[in-house]
Amino acid sequence: MLNFLLRRVAIALPTVILISIFVFGLQKLLPGDPVLAMAGEERDPEVIEFLREKYRLNDPVPVQYLAWVKGALTGDLGISLRTNQPVTELIGQKLPVTIQLAVMALIFAMVIGIPAGILSAVKKGTVTDYVANVVALSGLSIPNFWLGIMLILLVAVNWQLLPASGYVPPSEDLWLSIKTMLMPAFVLGTALAATLMRHTRSAMLGVLKSDYVRTARAKGLAERRVILRHAFRNALTPIVTLTALLFGELIAGAVLTEQIFTIPGFGKLVVDAVFNRDYAVVQGIVLVTALGFIVMNILADAAYFVLNPRLRKQ
């Protein structure tokens, strides 16, 4: 297992390097000059020169890249051109918010999507199956911003059950924090639930036809146990893969949802940084997101180990 994981990490390293080069290169290709934006209306050549020197923008690109990598390895991703805060600090502030949102959204997605998928596979071709599919399709096709606004209108404004927007850190007030995040997590979760439901359904349909499920029935096990233990366990592999990928996507930020619920998360940080040509922040965010994806993939691989005994021997 350890061996396998180490190998996975070793394979991931070149990916990370490539991503960092790519991210850095793309930034240089973007039109617009951040220094001009910073220098203000007068565009005093001295100020511009000073800023270029300060941010080492006069060095050749490879040198800039190496300097950035060196910093990144020690946890220093540079300083935001806009707010003058260290990028690591900015990310450190926003990442937990986004992770909380992602985890809660994923919980919604799994709690809704997986049971619905199992149910519609078991009841294939019945009314239950059709209803689940229609609901899933609507979950996929209803835009997040619309659902978000409707929820705010209904739940927060009309019924006054939950706060309409904002963010409370869990360290301050855990219950309030969860309550505030409930609606945005639900909005994000429903769309993912639909995807998860479709994948769970197809994985379960495949497994339910297998010989070992027939054996489990022949043993006289209750149908519930046959489905939840014997079938579901073997259908988990694609579900785990998908969940890991979905989590990675969620970390990359849910810009719209964060905007609607005014959550100070990653999504908002990305948008602001891109609009302001805040190189250092964009680079930092993309790097962290990419790392997040890679870590989730490795975790998914580790999960296969637990799920599939056939992998363990090799």
């Binding site: 054996t215 014997h230 073997n234 599939n308």
Partner: protein
């Protein structure tokens, strides 16, 4: 009264037959014993009696299986033989209640298990006995075990389910069963996963699982088809041994006539969803009466005698919806005549020996011709 007499005669025949096969086979049968009145009553009641079982799948115009009747006694082995697609496996699955509930439509039929009678569509009754009083092993040992669980847990699960005993007791039983089916070092094997075992070993595990609750009836659906020839013999021997130990009734589904000759007490020959010939193994082998049975026998290569071209039954089994009216075998039968447009009954031609052919018994026909 007459029916009863015939029935007694059939039974007598089977009992006699059993003892002579027992002599022939030596090991698998219980030693002969003096039958007293109580015992006879017990023996008159077959373990399993299937009457006119008939069903089709949703959306099909003809029955997959039509008017299947047979019986299995304790310590007896009924072999169901026939080509692929003749309905042997679905019949077994129907008995076990393992056909998908929403797509199968039972037309008629009655199952009597140890004197209790119920409809084949009575899923709950069947489910209650499944894995406990009747068990099944399948053709594909490679895929019939769950790849995600240790084999010990898979066997123990079956025990726990029905005996309602604790985990420790169930595991003890699992070890015992693994030992009984001839798996070396059973304690260590308990913790292994199916992919660590060979096909033959997996089939042994399947047998251990099926027999863990001492079922009265074992249904084996081509248990040796996917195995090497040497392993095949071991598995059949194992089943015969366990049958002799426990006295269970066995239904063996196979298309291997060699296997049938070895183990059968009775044989049911199936063709296109119907039983076309049914009787004691000896009668079927020595005096086959249905043209299809004769064709099957002739298509087995012989080790002795002059080498000749292997005979085959021409054509193939008609699909559902394309069955000929009347006798379903008529489209391939060398003896087919106009009378075959009407359906022949599965008529008794000798005590206990039934054939569904207008021309059976064949001797009579030949005599008539002469």
């Amino acid at each position: 009264m007459a029916v009863f007499l015939i029935y007694r005669l059939v039974r007598l025949q089977i009992i006699c037959h059993q003892s002579c096969i027992g002599l022939r086979m030596g090991s698998a049968m219980v030693p002969g014993r003096i039958v007293d009145e109580g015992d006879r009553r017990d023996m008159d009641r077959p373990l399993l009696q299937v009457e006119k079982l008939k069903f089709r799948f949703r959306g099909q115009s003809q029955d997959v299986v039509e008017d299947i009747s047979f019986r299995v006694g304790r310590n007896e082995t009924l072999c169901i033989v026939g080509e692929s697609g003749c309905g042997k496996s679905v019949t077994a699955l129907a008995l076990m209640g393992l056909l998908p509930r929403d797509s199968v439509r039972f037309g008629s039929g009655e199952i009597r298990f140890d004197g209790e009678s119920f409809a084949p569509s009575d899923h709950d009754r069947i489910a209650a006995m499944r894995g406990d009083r009747m068990a099944m092993i399948f053709q594909e040992p490679m895929t019939s075990l769950n790849p995600a669980f240790r084999i010990g847990d898979q066997i123990a699960e079956a025990v726990e389910q029905h005996r309602k005993c604790g985990k420790a007791k169930a595991r003890e039983r699992a070890v015992e069963m693994l030992r009984r089916v001839g798996i070396p070092a059973p304690e260590q094997r308990m913790g292994e996963y199916p992919h660590q075992l060979s096909g033959g070993m997996r089939q042994r595990v399947m047998i251990a699982m099926a027999l863990a609750n001492d079922p009265e009836l074992l249904i084996a659906d081509e248990p040796t088809t996917a195995l090497d020839v040497t392993v095949q013999a071991q598995i059949l021997e194992l089943i015969a041994e366990l049958q002799a130990e426990t006295g269970m009734g066995t239904i063996m589904i196979t298309h291997d006539l060699g296997v049938v000759a070895e183990i059968a007490t009775d044989v049911a020959v199936m063709y296109a969803g119907q039983v076309v010939e049914y009787g004691p193994a000896e009668a079927i082998f020595n005096d086959p009466q249905h043209p299809y049975t004769i064709g099957l026998m002739a298509s087995v290569p012989s080790l002795t005698g002059p080498r000749r071209r292997l005979s085959t039954v021409p054509g193939s089994v008609p699909g559902i919806g394309q069955m000929p009216e009347g006798c379903r075998f008529s489209s391939r039968c060398p003896f087919a005549a106009p009378v075959c447009a009407s359906r022949p009954d599965l008529a008794e031609i000798a005590p206990g020996h039934r054939a569904a052919c207008h021309f059976a018994p064949l001797d009579q026909r030949l005599e008539r011709r002469a």
